[in-house]
């Protein structure tokens, strides 16, 4: 039922889009009909290019997100648990976070050239901060009363961490991961728009300069589908984890 309801609006949008090709409010250059987008997709699939664009983009996101999230979890845990690490590192990390992430692009290209490394690194940066910030804040706001009760029963150090602190922040970790994943897709497109020869971001720039609006729509729809799918996968794990740990 919920699934059906959630499909109502996309269905209506698709209908309005199809209707436009009949009524002609927007020209086919501005808004090609759904059939043209489908044809563009078929053509790219037949030439074997579409799969490459999707695969390389997904690969970049997965690698970048995994590394960024892992670093975010490590630093979030370190600064959330240790006042010393917080005092030592928070100003620096806060300053780095304040830099608009696209400002790193020229430097990354200078250091790593235009290749996979610079793109993946940008995605790592994008995924890092939401994960780091969410975990850090969650660890700082673990119910003090629970922590005290744990201490009163002799839990400390690693045992206090694994028995009380980590389980308490599991739901927050997942919301951080989902935010980080959304950022990863955002930064993927940014990286590919700037410099690439393959990937959905490249497909966008390339189609734009060739006036292929149908392909632009195709790329946007694919990004929406991929982003939503990966987020839904994470959402399923999140629901399981929240049930388990709260």
């Amino acid at each position: 039922m919920r699934l059906l309801l959630s499909l109502v609006v996309p269905g209506l949008l698709l209908g309005a889009w199809q209707l436009n090709s009949v009524v002609g409010v927007f020209s086919p250059i501005q808004l090609p009909p759904p059939s043209a987008v489908l044809a563009a997709a078929t053509e790219l699939v037949e030439r074997g290019e579409l799969w490459l664009h999707v695969a390389i983009s997904t690969q970049r996101v997965l690698i970048g997100f995994t590394l960024g999230a892992a670093l975010g979890l490590a630093f979030g845990a370190l600064l959330g648990l240790s006042r010393l690490a917080d005092a030592l590192l928070m100003t620096t990390i806060g300053a780095l976070r304040a830099v608009p992430s696209l400002a790193w692009v020229p430097l990354l290209i200078l250091w790593m050239k235009i290749g996979e490394d610079s793109k993946v690194t940008l995605i790592v940066i994008g995924a890092f901060f939401p994960v780091f910030t969410t975990l850090f804040l969650a660890l700082r706001h673990v119910d003090r009363q629970l922590v005290e009760a744990g201490r009163a029963f002799g839990l400390r150090g690693v045992r206090l961490l694994t028995t009380v602190l980590l389980p308490a922040v599991v739901p927050a970790i997942f919301s951080g991961l989902r935010l980080g994943l959304a950022q990863a897709w955002l930064f993927l497109v940014a990286a590919e728009l700037i410099a690439s020869s393959l990937g959905l971001g490249f497909l966008l720039v390339d189609s734009s300069s060739n006036g292929r609006t149908d392909r632009i729509f195709l790329a946007i729809i694919l990004l929406a589908v991929l982003g939503k799918t990966t987020d839904a996968l994470l959402g399923v794990t999140e629901r399981w984890a929240v049930r388990r740990w709260t």
Partner: protein, 272 residues
């Protein structure tokens, strides 16, 4: 002595007897924006092994602070707490605490929560048996596999009590453990506490703001408070009263009626 020699074979060998506790010239103050605020001042008291001592006082008088120093959750600025003659330094294995809130871990079952209280020395099998025995004692054995949010406040509080008992504490510290419960549940919990104390006599320090509860449960009542209206001064012992008769005390007796008025007027309530 091994665990096998004790009846039932489920008790940790060194904790299962009531221990005496002594507060010795205890002082504690907290820093606040307006300067130092003295909470406890020169509190000295001997608590006998196996007795139930109620600690009464108005809110903010330092009842909980006194209890927390005994648990090692708080360190006094001066003086010390001695359990069985040894000073308390940090969290003390000989004590167990039950708080006003159950403070159970929401992601664990009641059974696993009770097991948190087990002393580290307990082996897996004796620990498991003891948790089962305690759940039975507090009447939670049918609910052992439920999570805290799936049970009522009274049941959660019973689990919290069982968790404290799992330590086989020489001193059981109860910080207004029934304060947040409804009147009926509170009466049941008070009876339960006396039952438990009969089965496993241990020294109990019970912080409460309920005069009737103190009269019903305690062997002695300590009234904590400031000697004058001067807020610069910290709380100390205003009165230490032995409650006559045998537990559970009949609160309708004339002796207790008079005592009740005395206690209430000490806490600033008159004419009742």
């Amino acid at each position: 002595m091994t665990a096998l020699l004790t009846p039932g074979g489920t008790h940790a060998p060194h904790h299962n007897q009531a221990l005496g506790l002594r507060f010795s010239r205890l002082g504690r103050s907290f820093g606040s924006p307006e300067g130092k605020r003295i909470v406890l001042q020169d509190v000295s008291l001997d608590v006998r092994a196996g007795e139930i001592l109620a600690i009464l006082g108005t809110s903010g008088c330092g009842k909980s602070t006194l209890l927390r120093t005994a648990a090692g959750l708080d360190a006094p600025d001066s003086g010390q707490v001695l359990i069985d003659g040894d000073p308390v330094r940090g969290i003390d294995e000989r004590c167990a605490v039950a708080f006003q809130e159950p403070r159970l871990l929401p992601w664990h079952t009641l059974r696993a929560n009770v097991a948190i209280g087990l002393p580290r020395s307990a082996s897996a099998s004796t620990g498991k048996a003891k948790v089962l025995e305690l759940l039975e004692l507090v009447g939670l054995d049918p609910f052992a596999a439920l999570r805290p949010r799936e049970v009522s406040g009274g049941m959660a509080q019973r689990a919290s009590l069982a968790r404290a008992l799992a330590r086989d504490p020489g001193v059981l510290l109860l910080d207004e453990p029934f304060g947040a419960l409804d009147a009926l549940t509170r009466i049941r919990m008070q009876d339960l506490l006396l039952d438990i104390h009969r089965v496993r006599p241990t020294t109990v320090l019970l912080v409460t703001h309920d005069v009737d509860e103190a009269l019903l449960l305690a062997d002695r009542i300590l009234v904590l408070g400031r000697g004058s209206a001067d807020t610069q001064e910290g709380s100390s012992i205003l009165e230490l009263i032995a409650v006559p008769g045998v537990r559970p005390h009949d609160r309708n007796s004339a002796d207790l009626g008079a005592l009740r008025s005395t206690l209430l007027s000490m806490l600033g309530v008159t004419g009742r």
